[in-house]
Structure formats: C-alpha cells, structure tokens
Amino acid sequence: MKTKKLINDPDAVIKEMLEGIMAAHPALLTQVPDHPRAVVARHGPRPGKVGLVIGGGSGHEPTFVGFVGRGLADACAVGNVFASPPPDPILECAKAANGGAGVIFMYGNYGGDVMNFDMAAELAGMEDIRVSTVLTTDDVASAPPERRADRRGVAGNVFIFKAAGAACDKMCSFEDCERAARKANDHTFTMGVALAPCSLPQTLKHNFEIGPEDMEIGMGIHGEPGVAREKLKTADRVADDILDRIFAEMPAKRGDNVAVLVNSLGSTPLMELYILHRRVKQRLDQIGIGIHGSWVGSYCTSLEMTGASITLMLLDAELTELLDHPCDCAMFKVS
C-alpha cells in the first residue's frame, strides 16, 4: 500500500519546497542565482566574518535549511531527500558565506556528506577560500564513546550549529569559531527511538518495517537501523533508557547546567514530547543538574517518522553565552 503525501511531482519536491520557503521568508532567505540548492541568509555574511556553511539531505526540516539566518548559518546546501548535496551548491554556499575570513563547513557525519563536502572544500581551496570542516557526531547510539568520531550527527545539530554560528556572528577569529564548533559538538549527546517508519516521496513505501508493538532504539534519522529492537515501553522507561546512556558518558557534575532538546522525528506530537520532558527534568533533578533552557518540538525530523530523540548539551559559560546569543532564522529564533 502506498503512503499519502501532499506533493506534486515526486522528483520536484525539493525544488518546490525551496520555492515555498523563499515565498514564505523573503526577508530572511535567498537562493544563489542559477543555484537554487544554495540557500543564503540575507543578513548573514559580512566582510571579515567567518562564514558558517551547513547542509545535508532534505527531509529533516527544519534541519538544515531552517537554520540559515543572521546569528546562525550563513548558507545551506540542500540535497535530495536523505542524500548529501553535491559539491556544486556547497561550493556556491562557500563563496556566498565567505567574507574574506574563510568558512567552516558543518554537517552530520555521514560518508556521502563527507565525500561531497570534501570535494567542495577542494574546489573552494582552488578559489582561495579557507575552509575547515567540523563534523557533528552527537548520536550516542551510533558508536561507543571511544569511537565518538565515528558517530552520526542527529538532532543535536541545532545546538551545535547554534553555538558555532554565534561565535561567527560575534566576529570571533577563524580559530576560535572552529574551536567553539568542536567544543559544542563534544558537549552534545543525543539518542532517539523510532516507533513507525516514514516513506520517501519517490517510493511512497515505508523505508523500514517494524512490528506493531515494537520500537527501534537508536534509529538513525534516515531510518537506518539502530542498536536494538524492543517492545514499546512507557514514556518514562524510554526516557530513562536514553538518559542512562547519555549520563554514562556526559562528564557532568552536580550544579552543572544543560540545554535540553526533546525532538519529534515527525509524527510524534507535542503532548508526548512534553511527557518525555517531564521525565528528563525529574532525572536531572535527581543528579543535581539544572536546565538552562529547553526546546521541545520538531527540530530534526525524518519526514513523517514516528518517534522522538532527547539531546543534552552540557554547558559552560562560553557555550551558555553562545546558545543565548540572538539568531533570526526562518525556522529557529532566539532573542
């Protein structure tokens, strides 16, 4: 049985989505002429400012394109559904974001993205644009702590990009922006569960199968299998399983503060997210860790997948300031 979507031509979904985004947010966003897959912040790039270029596959909205705007990303390269963008739009983003001080590429750690962004970095180098790459690796379910660098980047992206974008917006040096970006990634921990699959516009078929009473622990945001299949548990048990994994490796001590993200993978409604957040608060209270701020909603989705993820970013003074720094994006604002 085919799934139902409100689309026109399945091969035109990205083009039409971007047209709709430009129509909705003309004051904030624009596309590079002749390169519609390169989306640029109207008020982002400035002379002397380090540019932040993000990007990745589509279908995770508001990640990535929704995070383009002053104070966050200067440009975003938009790929097909669940597919890295090719080098071309990434290069255009680098040119648009470069204010002479160089650009930082930030994106989730996936083989396809690495190949495409690396090719773009080479091309940018040929145009004398300084490029440094910081991969996001916040998905604790995707590799053990000792192989942190092998982990996937998932919902924590929004915190990590936010911190890096703030450093750039504050006109920090290239080295400081890069350091802040790496530090933000190192301090961010995410894990998710999936209850039901999504479907690609071109196939209209579920991208994985899961039993009527099961959930997948650590499911990737493209529906890649996670670490285990289990029977669906209560919200509190699910939150506990996730938090136990995160607490086991997050170097936090009593009195520390975290930023909390409870994220829907698509179809899981706010009611369930807040029930999860309730448990997160209880667990943090138990170990004497405070919540600096909470974001609850759809921040990194897998189209209409059912499920949720929890992200904790362990804060210090620098990261707190970067997170609180204002940003004005089409789909994410801090003021």
């Binding site: 790929g79 597919a83 890295s84 080098p87 190949m115 994985f208 890649e224």
Partner: protein, 214 residues
Amino acid sequence: MTDITTAGLVTMFRTIGAAIEAEKARLSELDGVIGDADHGVSMAMGFNAVNDALARLDAAATDPTSVMNTAAKAFLNAVGASAGPLYATAFMRAGAAVKGRASLDRDAVAAMIVAMAKGMQERGKAERGEKTMMDAWLPAAEAAEAARACGKDLTGCLADAVAAASAGAEATTSMVAAKGRAARLGDRAIGHMDPGAASAVIVLRAIAEGLGQE
C-alpha cells in the same frame, strides 16, 4: 566487434539507465534493510540526468573523454549522496584513461573499467571486504584486466568482469560493513546484500550489453 565510438558510449549509458530504472525498487528495498532506502532512487536520478545531458551533446562532434566528463558532472549534481561522488569520480577517471582517443578498442575499454574502480576507491577509501560497491567493482576490474592479458576479446573481457562483479556482490551478503551507513550496524548487517554492490552488477552488465550493441 568494431571499436566503440562516442555514439557507442551514449548507447551504453542509455542501456545502463534502462537497466537501473527496471531494478530501482529492488535497489531501494535492499538499501532500506541496511541503509536509508534511497539507493535505487539515487542511481535512477543519476543516470536519467546523464542521459539528459548526453542527449544535449552532439556525439559526432565530441570524443569519448568529454562524454565521460559530461556524464560525471551530470551524475554528481543530480545525485550527491554516496553514489554521486563515487560514480562521478569513476567516470572522470575513465575519461582521463582514454584521453586523446577518437574511439575505443578492447584495451581502452579494459583500461576504462580499471580506472573507474581505481577512482572510486580513491574517492571512497574502501577496501575489499568492507561491504560496499568496491566488492563488486574491484574484482570486476581485475577480471577485465586478466581477461585482456590472456587475449580474450572485448566481449570476453566484459563477460568476465560481470561474472566477477556478481560473485563479489553475492559475497557482501555475509559481510559486516566497515564503510557507509551500514557500518554502524555491526552484525545486524550480516545476511543482507549491499545495495551499492548490487547496483554495480547491474551497471557492469548493462555496460557489456550496451557496448555489445555496437
């Protein structure tokens, strides 16, 4: 079999496109098991873009190298993903391997296959046994070169390449993945054929068929 002209290469890409289109759903389903369910979609998008670009090309007025470069650019920009850089690099290297030639004999085609596998490997840094398309492409290249060395004709070289690729693809079923999305699955990847290896077999079979049509 006469030498392969640029027109022959255009035919070859059309044959690949048709073959992938026909297997699209199966490839996406394979990818759904250990990846993100889009490999068939990506490959089809890529070869459709290649064929659109080649249709706009005046085959008579261009040489094999620019056909391959046109294909590389079109595939890369249409696809991205993992398949994009891998196949785009393969096509560029194939073009470079036959630079200056107006048409391609057996040795040139074998050299192209070898260059494609080599280019893919440099791009993706995958070794044999890591459950990727390299497990089909590397043996295919070796087989083509070996067949050439012992004097088989083009048809024979390509036949051996296809046979080696299918054997290699079959072998991925029992492998744990060390590259690509499946690399995070550990043992859960065992028992499932790698979609990129599966599509490599389809591509090589179509190359043999397409060039055979000359």
